[in-house]
């Protein structure tokens, strides 16, 4: 499983960093974000890339768990 931390990054870097991680075709990926826009953009990208995902809000962060 690959873990990616995109907290503090501005658009479109969170989704770009996710894209780079997805390029290695991992079965599972966990992304930590702290911004709702980033979560929406990453979620749309994961869907386009064929991943199923769920988003959990923990304190001020969002954890996105995605599986192929």
């Amino acid at each position: 499983m690959i873990k990616v931390d995109v907290r503090g990054m501005s658009c479109p870097q969170p989704v770009l960093i996710t894209k780079n991680a997805v390029n290695s075709n991992p079965k599972e990926i966990e992304i930590i974000a702290d911004d709702n826009t980033a979560v929406n953009n990453i979620s749309r990208f994961l869907k386009i890339s064929g991943y199923k995902y769920e988003v959990n809000e923990i304190k001020e962060d969002y954890i996105i768990n995605a599986k192929k």
């Binding site: 894209k19 702290d34 826009t37």
Partner: protein, 358 residues
């Protein structure tokens, strides 16, 4: 509202509101133009003295306050900043210099096309080329580094400043400049314009509508979400213009525009490239400012100062065409943006790391 229906609805409403604002007094094809309106505010406060473009445009205040209100309500008012603020300020200036060469921000570019102004096609070509340059920079690892959480009070200042601007507009004290002729003198009734700004601000905050993001995401991720809003604005403004008889197709004699293709193209290259590096178009920067993003506030202040620079140093184009100073400024800014792209990418970082090892 993170659905395609939501962003298409928002785009449609922006288009309808843009035509409505023209009907109520705004200049033609300028129902909503962030660059023009920030320039007018800059002039209204006396930061430049171009007598024809001075007015405190309440649409801008509405955008910020609408975004602030809905972000607070939805617990999305997150105060953050510290991501290369001076570079962002500089890019705000270059966005404005590019936009005022073309005579409009990316939003007005779409409104101009929907009004039949074919110069906008040249603008869109330049804008797309600028976005491609920006994407190339991103693919080379361009980053303005991370932001950090800041005290809430930091995020309240900009919305409060916008409330203060509304008060100044209503009280109209003698130290505020209001154009008596030209584009600055043409405006919809203030409270209606403010309400329109509030509506667009609320919807844009919810949907993340962004003119640069539409083309960028389509190229980068084959994501059609944001471009749907872009297209909806175009379609609904076109319908509105055709219904009210505002549609006039051609290159020449278009409202508040010039037909110099090369400089329309290069102006929007600069605007598009700078906007990709900033992470969003001028309207998106205003929306983010309302959400507590002080990096975007700094960018907006850069645009405000950029507008003053444009008119104090004769850089802005006019319906007669671009000025010699403006041409020099656009070329110089393209070089500056190229340098910013390089110095903040992996190319420069790897080189400096290599030197460190040696």
């Amino acid at each position: 509202m993170d659905s395609k229906k939501g962003i298409i609805f928002t785009g449609a409403l922006v288009g309808i509101i843009a035509v409505l604002l023209v009907k109520l007094g705004n200049p033609k094809n300028m129902g909503f133009c962030i660059a023009c309106f920030i320039r007018d505010i800059s002039g209204g406060l006396g930061f430049h003295r171009a007598a024809v473009v001075q007015y405190l445009r309440p649409e801008v205040m509405g955008l910020v306050l609408g975004s602030f209100a809905v972000a607070s309500l939805k617990k999305e008012f997150n105060v953050k900043g510290g991501s290369s603020p001076f570079i962002r300020f500089t890019l705000g200036v270059t966005v404005m210099i590019g936009a005022l060469m073309f005579l409009g921000c990316p939003l007005r570019m779409v409104l101009r096309l929907a009004g039949g102004d074919l110069n906008a096609i040249v603008g869109i070509a330049g804008f797309t080329f600028g976005i491609i340059l920006g994407i190339a920079s991103l693919n080379k690892g361009f980053s303005l580094k991370r932001n950090y959480k800041l005290p809430k009070s930091e995020g309240y200042i900009f919305p409060v400043m916008n409330i203060f601007l509304v008060v100044l507009l209503i009280l109209a004290p003698s130290f505020i400049f209001f154009s008596e002729k030209g584009p600055g003198s043409m405006h919809a009734p203030a409270l209606i314009a403010l309400a329109c700004g509030l509506i667009v601000g609320i919807l844009s905050q919810r949907t993340r509508l962004c003119m640069v993001g539409g083309i960028r995401d389509l190229i980068l991720f084959k994501d059609t979400y944001l471009i749907s809003g872009f297209i909806a604005i175009l379609v609904f403004t076109l319908i509105g213009n055709l219904s009210l008889g505002y549609f006039n197709m051609g290159f020449e004699a278009q409202p508040v525009a010039h037909s110099d293709g090369l400089w329309n193209f290069l102006g929007m290259v600069l605007c598009g490239w700078s906007s990709v590096l900033l992470g969003g178009c001028p309207m998106r920067q205003l929306i983010l400012s309302g959400e507590g993003n002080t990096d975007s506030v700094i960018t907006v202040i850069g645009m405000f100062v950029g507008a003053a620079i444009c008119h104090n140093f004769a850089l802005a184009a006019s319906p007669k065409g671009p000025s010699p100073n403006g041409k020099i400024a656009v070329i110089a800014c393209l070089l500056v943006v190229g340098l910013i792209s390089y110095l903040n990418s992996d190319m420069a970082n790897l080189k400096s790391k290599g030197k460190g090892v040696a």
